[in-house]
Amino acid sequence: MERFSYVRATSIAEAVALLNEPGIRSRPLAGGTDLVLLTRAEPALCNRVVDISLIPDLHRIHREGDRVVIGAAATFSEVIESPIVVQTAPVLIQACRQVGATQIRNMGTLGGNVANAAACADSLPALVCLDAVARVLTPQGEREWPVSELVRGPNRTIIPTGGLLVSLSYPAPLPGSQSVFIKLGRRNAMAISRLTVAALGRLDSAGRIAEARLVPGSATPQICRFNAVEASLLGQAPSRDLYQSAARLTAEEMIRLAGRRWSSEFKEPALIAMTARALAQVFEPERRNA
């Protein structure tokens, strides 16, 4: 007996129609790296998969005014190879490069990473750091949510049943912005993230911090920008001491948002070191290769 049937959608409109066909519990299939495993663990998950991975529009990466729009079925490899993303969002490139290994990056998609919303999803901190917005199509129409509101917790999003995540977009950061992504895993390849830090920043003409965004990943139940930390950096002159105090505040915020857990003992010092390093790389990029 087949656990589910398979149908391939050739357009976004067809995919939405198939996902909402009455009497059938359908699931969108993009890269399959999470869903194929999930259907084995939970045979009753769905009775049909709708393959959206070959819809050309869902792979498109383009500019729309000052925004960059990435089709939800763009694979991590396609994102990494996109000159537009390379130019505008090093933080997202670095995050996608950290995902799995070649095979997983060739299969897994940015939209799948967001919709599956694993606690350790590498693209999520980068997307939240970029103030990315998710566009979701339903038979009733179109909805947009910031990624930080769409993802409510581990494996939990507010994408309605039958809704299809079609794209992720972010405003291109202002000229002079720098961004980085740092990951802590047990080894380089195929490692589940234990902790990540996405950071973006910009200095004004006087060399003071004009913009600062900081998003730890695998650190809090709902992934978010750490506003208190960001505020502590604004208007300041970059220095080691500043990074250290911001990093300590980051760890305090993590404990405040996530509570004290078995992993806090290693996550606190690790997050402090990673945050200080990320801020140094953002605000003193000339030291990055030193």
Binding site: R3, F4, V36, V49, S77, I104, A189
Partner: protein, 159 residues
């Protein structure tokens, strides 16, 4: 369901359940037993194949997803006259093959890299095979074999 694809250059048509993985389709329905099942959950790379030229884990790919597309398995990698191609011969020459279980995936990972980058650094080679586990730990020789083949292919394409 009926699945039609191009396997190692030849069209094939096969009837299989919709929830069959590409790995199962290749091994159990099409006798491509060079495709190995290691972990079955996308961690080890032993089941790697090329799908439209991209390296993927066939255990995490549904057979139906390969419909209408081109799949290359290790059986499709061979010299012009049959026998090993240059990369496979380099694996032999450099002693890169021990138990051999990971080697089909390793060779395909090497081919996928060399198709895009004929001048890979050692770091790039290591990154390209990072999704392929070898538990005999013959990684050095595998990297040597891919690097030697890259250099030979560069020479051939220049001269």
């Amino acid at each position: 369901m009926k699945i039609e694809l191009t396997l190692n250059g030849a069209p094939v048509s096969v009837d299989a359940p919709a929830d069959t993985s590409l790995l199962e389709l290749l091994r159990d329905h099409l006798d491509m037993t060079g495709v190995k099942e290691g972990c079955g959950i996308g961690e080890c790379g032993a089941c790697s194949v090329l799908l439209d030229g991209r390296l993927v884990n066939s255990c995490l790919t549904l057979a139906a997803q390969a419909g209408g597309r081109k799949v290359i398995t290790i059986e499709g990698i061979r010299g012009a006259e049959g026998g090993p191609n240059d990369l496979q011969q380099a694996f032999i020459d450099y002693g890169a093959v021990q138990c051999g279980y990971c080697i089909p995936g390793m060779v395909l990972a090497g081919e996928a890299l060399l198709a895009r980058n004929l001048e890979p650094t050692r770091a790039e080679i290591r990154e390209a095979i990072a999704g392929n586990l070898c538990r005999c730990t013959g990684y050095q020789q595998i990297v040597d074999a891919i690097q030697a083949t890259a250099i030979k292919r560069q020479e051939n394409s220049n001269g």
